[in-house]
Subunit: 333 residues, 2 copies
DNA sequence: TCTATTTCATGTAACGTTTCATATAAATTT
DNA sequence: AAATTTATATGAAACGTTACATGAAATAGA
């Protein structure tokens, strides 16, 4: 009779089915077992409502079936979307996700990484900004949006192509004079290629352009000063602006409103990331959309891939453009 | 000499320090040990960079040090905020969080709950809407925003007081004729008290009011029809609107704009939840703010409380009002 | 100085799995 | 029909902990 008030164990199943412990283990793991045995064991499992204890499995196998997600927070919509899709991709493979919100704190980032060496997680998917972060080459680590060094794959959207696409869109929509706006000093990360891509797009399409880069994030005033400087006779000299993130686009939209510039009539605005209001209602702005579900799937696939000898240093996934009200659309596209 | 390529175990520490296994265990768990032993063990721990294997601990103690969070997704900003703060509260107590995104699917909700009975998690914090959900009385479960039955505590903000506060604010700001708008058919949940609270507030302050409740979420057209019906000579008969969520307020704001009603000049709008753009920039609308960090802390505290005999059926946490641009403020408040 | 008592480190068993060497029964060969 | 091979179920050991019974050393009492 199974013990009171406790989940049934393999031993209980073995007793119930009248077979040996090892036989139950084989059935549970899909290894070859005589049919009559298999049937009896399966019946006992159903009767007792048995489920394997994956912590005991992990102890034996020296695996934890847990992957840590290192991410600043889950409140920023882009991080939230990544968290959601990575969680789904992991659960699909019977892995748990240990959520490690680092709040951009280098100390916490390093601490969580040291966990991996201690076999507390089987691997890490990390979106980090701390330039001094040390990840040893043999650590099972997948970096998002940043190359961490040899042997550590990086997954990102095609940031260069995204920048280029933004320039082309603005050109298609009739812009002549455009600007690129950026904040953040994280020069180590892939998203910096957005600038280069935009520049290339502008050159290809003959757009005249200007670049404005600030170290501080959310520095409303400085951008206001910059844009105010480019107003002649009440009219902005730019007819198109590409912001490095949707978050920045949100701020710039407010700046433009304050400066009495109409969007998209006077100036068209394109952001980057594909953030949606309340997670799903509509796009904050016209934007270059990152393929978040695909990025998530790729991170998990790479991390759990058996043959880790084949480690691509960088995987770029394609971006798309989405209309979000801050551009003048030619047609229904 | 410790084994190659493997995290050091207690055995390694014991060998290094020249003490018995049990002594190391005691040191690790802060149990009384002779000073000379403690020093040697601590030194060995530092030298080998040892960390306990909490899966082995859990196996022994029949605990997993893991709590499941059942939540529809992490993309909706309110869910994202809860996820973030619950994660922090759990990590603070050395517990892991298993994120279970249910996507509102009753099958998944029930499946994750059955996990708890199988000792795969030590407890569950759940934000669910499925009315048929079965949670047995002895299950360690804390429900958010919904009473699940006897023995299952519910944590929520003070929804009634929130509704009342919204009515009072609108009255303070000079409204005479107000409306309450709501979507969603989840009549089982605590947030329904927002309506009763608002009604009470209106009666107390002598506001005339109207209630509009739709089953479908996000039914832009129906609300547009409703509000259009209340426009006389181009002017809305309401001078104040209370929306059951910030999400709905976002939609209503669009409806009002379409109907050429100015906010807050013609009509003032108050939402509920305290959602901020991009997680932290500014409030979407003037709103009743839920104390999300406190809700998270309370859920975790209740779930992990030793003496679970003292199970309060319902814990209400206080709400506050925040200005978010959709109300006419008298002063700097 | 010798026994009685206390103190505290030791080492073994157990938690729920998996794996592997062993044993048993069936199938094949001669 | 006896001997050999093959197939496959069995059960013990091990994974890294904790808890408890054991025993050795140190202190106190006479």
């Amino acid at each position: 009779m199974p013990k009171e008030n406790t989940a049934p164990t393999m031993k209980d199943v073995a007793r119930e089915a009248g077979v040996a412990l090892g036989t139950v283990s084989k059935v549970v793991n899909g290894l070859p077992v005589g049919d009559s045995y298999r049937v009896r064991v399966e019946e006992a499992i159903r009767k007792l409502n048995y489920q394997v204890n994956s912590y005991a499995q992990g102890l034996k196998a020296n695996k934890t079936y847990t992957v840590a997600l290192l991410i600043p927070n889950t409140v920023d919509p882009f991080y939230a979307a990544l968290t959601y899709h990575i969680n789904i991709a992991l659960l699909k493979r019977k892995y748990r996700m240990l959520l490690c919100a680092t709040d951009f704190d280098p100390r916490q980032e390093q601490e969580y990484i040291s966990m991996a060496q201690h076999n507390k997680v089987d691997g890490i998917i990390g979106l980090t900004y701390n330039p001094g972060l040390v990840v040893e080459e043999n650590t099972p680590f997948i970096a998002i949006d940043r190359s961490m060094g040899p042997g550590i794959p990086c997954v990102a959207c095609d940031n260069f192509a995204g920048g280029q696409l933004a320039a082309e869109k603005l050109a298609d929509l009739g812009c002549k004079n455009v600007a690129f706006l950026r904040t953040g000093s994280a020069l180590v990360n892939e998203p910096n290629k957005r600038k280069a891509g935009f520049e290339t797009g502008c050159l290809t399409r003959g757009l005249s352009y200007e670049m404005k880069i600030l170290d501080d994030a959310d520095s409303f005033d400085e951008f206001e000063a910059f844009l105010a400087d480019h107003i002649i006779n009440g009219k902005l000299t730019f007819d198109g602006i590409f912001c490095v993130t949707d978050r920045l686009a949100y701020l710039i939209l407010k700046v433009l409103r304050k400066l009495h510039q109409r969007v998209p009539e006077d100036v068209q605005l394109i952001g980057f990331d594909g953030i949606q209001s309340f997670g799903d209602i509509d796009y904050h702005c016209s934007t270059i959309v990152q393929p978040v579900p695909e990025i998530a799937e790729m991170c998990v696939e790479l991390l759990l891939r058996e043959n880790m000898l084949v480690k691509p240093p960088l995987v770029c996934l394609p971006v798309t453009y989405a209309y979000g009200g801050t551009t003048r659309e030619k047609s229904e596209e």
